[in-house]
Symmetry: C2
Subunit: 230 residues, 2 copies
């Protein structure tokens, strides 16, 4: 086993190198990165890569999973660094962390939240990591409610079918969360995604030099909508 671990270690390093090279190409080639190109980078034949990843889609899946984890870590860490009772501070920290991660890793963000790759369908392993960022944000509202810092929106705000759906979701993911508050939290997450996507995919560029301030303000609007106290 110890002797075998030598081989395994070399193999693990090889896998890491492939992933690193693939990530590098991701930045320029987007989702359709070339296996042959990463093989060239590593000075090996393209066929050799198939010893480590059964297919190109499989490599992509690995990159996607790790990207989800990285984004989730960033958001959770930012949230955790703020005083638990400072709801608004936590909201800002989480949202800013997501944006910062996206701006730092635009290709990976596009892989996660851009248009789906045509032939590719994400495996089920990805749904749990994909839930971490929004759950972190919604957790802030839940904490505020539990601490009595936040009054939930009136439930008659919510049409019956939506209330039923959201109650089910809350029951399985955020126990004790009122449906109407969950709806507002999801609105905040949707808005965050839209903001980052617009900024990253370039549909804003013209005239909006103070992007940081604009982002903060839009996030503040949603914080108000969720009901986080100022």
């Amino acid at each position: 086993m110890v002797a075998n671990s030598l081989r395994a270690r070399v193999r693990a390093e090889m896998i890491d190198e492939i992933k690193a090279a693939a990530r590098r190409h991701l930045a320029t080639d987007g989702a359709n990165l070339s296996l042959r190109a990463v093989a060239r980078d590593l000075g090996m034949a393209s066929s050799a890569i198939y010893r480590y990843f059964p297919s190109r889609d499989d490599l992509l899946t690995t990159l996607i999973l790790e990207a989800y984890m990285a984004l989730g870590d960033a958001v959770e860490a930012a949230d955790a660094a703020v005083d638990r009772d400072d709801l608004r501070g936590r909201w800002f920290a989480g949202c800013r962390a997501a944006r910062a991660w996206a701006l730092a890793n635009p290709a990976e963000y596009a892989l996660l939240y851009g248009s789906p790759v045509p032939g590719y369908t994400a495996p089920d392993d990805t749904v749990e990591p994909a839930l971490r960022p929004p759950m972190t944000l919604i957790g802030i509202a839940r904490d505020g409610l539990a601490a009595g810092q936040l009054t939930p929106p009136p439930t008659d705000d919510l049409p019956q079918p939506v209330r039923a759906d959201l109650t089910d979701i809350a029951a399985s993911l955020v126990p004790g969360m009122p449906a109407a508050l969950l709806a507002r939290g999801m609105a905040g997450w949707t808005q965050l995604f839209g903001l980052i996507s617009f900024e990253l995919f370039g549909r804003i560029k013209g005239g909006l030099p103070h992007r940081d301030d604009y982002f903060d303000h839009q996030i503040a609007l949603m914080a108000d909508l969720v009901g986080l106290p100022r």
Copy 2:
């Protein structure tokens, strides 16, 4: 000229057939459609297509432009069909029309609002059509303000740098629009984009059977944020 128009007409029909076939492939292949495949569909050599479109990217650009126009038409028509004074009705009509168009043409929506195609950069012709849908929505708020049905949000809501940027944008695109109201209108558009994208790119599907109702409710939240009277 009349004799020439025969050739010109055949050419125009050929172009239409190519675009139609390309749109058909767009649904399955996404952004990386194959010129050879559409050529096969039309029973011609792949090289013949280059008589009509100088490159594959050029074909894509044409499809993108027409998609923007179609979406803009849909939203504007829906808005125009509602009584001018029914602000909330217009807001719902416009948003629902955008969603309906996206659900009916998912591939084209992905082309417009998904991750940018790696090597491809959209020409400047696309920015004006791209502005039509959000401008229609923001126009609703502008009309409401002009009619006195809507009280603008307090300007001190807006940090100074953002106010400056948005004032400039308003001056060139929506004259007479207060910056703080423009900010909320843009938030509504961002939210609409996020909602449609989440639904289309499949990150919601699990447990949310009443999508229409959910969409309406989220849109209503933003209508409230913009200040459209109930």
